[in-house]
Symmetry: none
Subunit: 189 residues, 4 copies
DNA sequence: GATGAATGAGAATTCATTCAT
DNA sequence: GATGAATGAATTCTCATTCAT
């Protein structure tokens, strides 16, 4: 059996970790995470051998969730513009709906506790998305931009756009559109 | 005065802090920072009352340096495009030349140890730049984009571009140009 | 429960604290206290959240023990003189038997680490004794002396008497009697 | 020259020490004491080789001042009762006028930083007073009480009385009289 | 499997003292 | 003689991890 322990409890710990890492960074104590999850300190270590393991799995879990969200309900039949917009839309919607997870990812991305291996695996999770993006943009993007760079730009513009959306929630649709416009025009041939 | 508090030593501590915070995050021990700077543990605290003070001052110091770098040698006579490009160019050059400082800023930006007050003061340091940017782009930018958002996009694109430059140093000029193009086209009317 | 917090261990820490605070004052290191109690440094803090908590609880614990000792085996049927003497006798006996606790109490009483709240609660522990003293002395004491002042005099004379007893153990009974005589005569109408 | 350094500055440091030791105990930092006295940290150590020296000299200085105060204006011609009362009166007056010094003495008396030697020398300062007390009381005191014990009782009753005077300043004369009455009657034959 | 007490290696400070200026 | 920066040992407290129950 791959995972004999209760998946439910494992998730409870990861959920608690999201909140605490978002608020306090990777320095958040395992004891607090365990308590927030409703467990005793020691229990955390039956689900994650070390704190670093927890942090790395947390990272991968959120990245996987995000990757899945981006492709959910993907309009295979849509135009390249529509398909690209769909990914952007999901990016913004998921980010707006999960501010703590976004904050946690930002913390983890700058932490040396997340291993190179984890970062690689996380990259892998987005391979399909990058591939689709590449396909969608084939006729639109300038030759200056390779797929990885385009993806990174999309991601970073979404991040910035989300910051403005969090600051001015009333202008959510405005920034969502403006952000995508900047992307679409920016990379255009 | 016996020995005056030397600005030189203060800078030595900040310099050591840059390296260690870049590598280990805000959790880097003050003892290590002091030792790296060539001082005894206690000496750090004659220059910075608390670790939080050190972190906040470090943040402001780097931000101030960056802000100054962006306007250095600013081509007042240039065209709006040239002036904007100049800021972009400085952003990329400073970033490429100071990877540890960039990493440190990223660490500090996600840390709750950097106070709201420090963040405000840091914002203030970029006011003039944002103002000039706004002036430069007056005739170019789409009405969708307010000055703050434009500045944030410029900054985030530079950050992303720098990541690619660090990864592929050979393609520095390529990415530098491509990144600016994306910006200039992206926000265009 | 894994291992329950044991009252026994808590007492061991308090006992160690008595010895060290008596000898070194409230500056006695928690590490030494823990080691003297037979524990690792950190263990102390699972029983007392902070050193101040330890000190305050130590204070209250000793005061409670003393208060209990004074009323132990109290001769309800005795004459007022006998009953008052009984309290004096207990005071002296407890003090002579517990020199370290006496020393510790003296240290704690002059320390600003013992809170006003703790002092109040300690006062409360002696309320019954003060009340009984007042009743016992009703027919004997001069109107000059209120109950609180009488109690304070009894206490301070006992303290002084104990110092002489410690210095000249052979004369214990002599000083014990002489001290009480001074009290009884001193406050007489 | 016995003391080549400025006596004035030495006194300034001792005065500052009184306030700080009264408030914070012997743990009061030398740096704070120096600053309160108007000097730099290091200057303190040209007047007192170590903190322990400062503490011991502080102790002796205050004890000497008190001893002198008790005999000031001593009524050589008065009756034994009057002469004894005079000492009591001085004790109370000095104590009421110098609460910080009293508090400091209490701190120092329980501190292991005041050496046995200092305690002996302090005792010596009161020898004359004890002698006079003995003479005064020759015809009055019960044989139960040796001179040292009588002196200690006088001192401790004064201390207790002063506490009540500080708490109820309106009743100063009442407690001052009542305290002495308790002493005088208490030790009487 | 769950619990949480026990552990001890750090971590940030503090502070008496020294000594270059 | 005065100054106060420099020092590093000592202190309180935290926390990941272990393991007896």
């Amino acid at each position: 059996m791959a995972r004999p322990l209760s998946e439910e409890k494992r998730e409870a710990i990861l959920t608690a970790a999201v909140d605490l890492v978002a608020a306090q960074g990777t320095g958040a104590p395992t004891a607090k995470i365990a308590k927030e999850a409703g467990f005793a300190e020691g229990t955390l270590f039956t689900y994650f051998a070390t704190k670093d393991d927890l942090l790395n799995e947390l990272f991968l879990e959120i990245e996987a969730e995000l990757a899945a969200a981006l492709l959910d309900d993907y309009p295979t039949d849509g135009s390249p513009y529509e398909r690209t917009r769909h990914i952007w839309s999901r990016l913004i919607d998921w980010g707006a709906a999960n501010p703590a997870k976004r904050k946690t990812i930002r913390q983890l991305k700058v932490s040396d506790r997340v291993s190179e291996a984890s970062r690689c695996r996380a990259s892998g999770l987005f391979e399909e998305i990058v591939g689709r993006l590449e396909g969608n943009l084939a006729g639109h993007v300038s030759t200056e931009y390779d797929a990885a760079y385009v993806s990174a730009i999309l991601d970073t513009l979404a991040e910035t756009t989300l910051e403005f959306i969090m600051r001015y929630p009333d202008k959510r649709e405005h920034y969502k559109r403006a952000g995508f416009d900047a992307f679409w025009r920016g990379i255009a041939r």
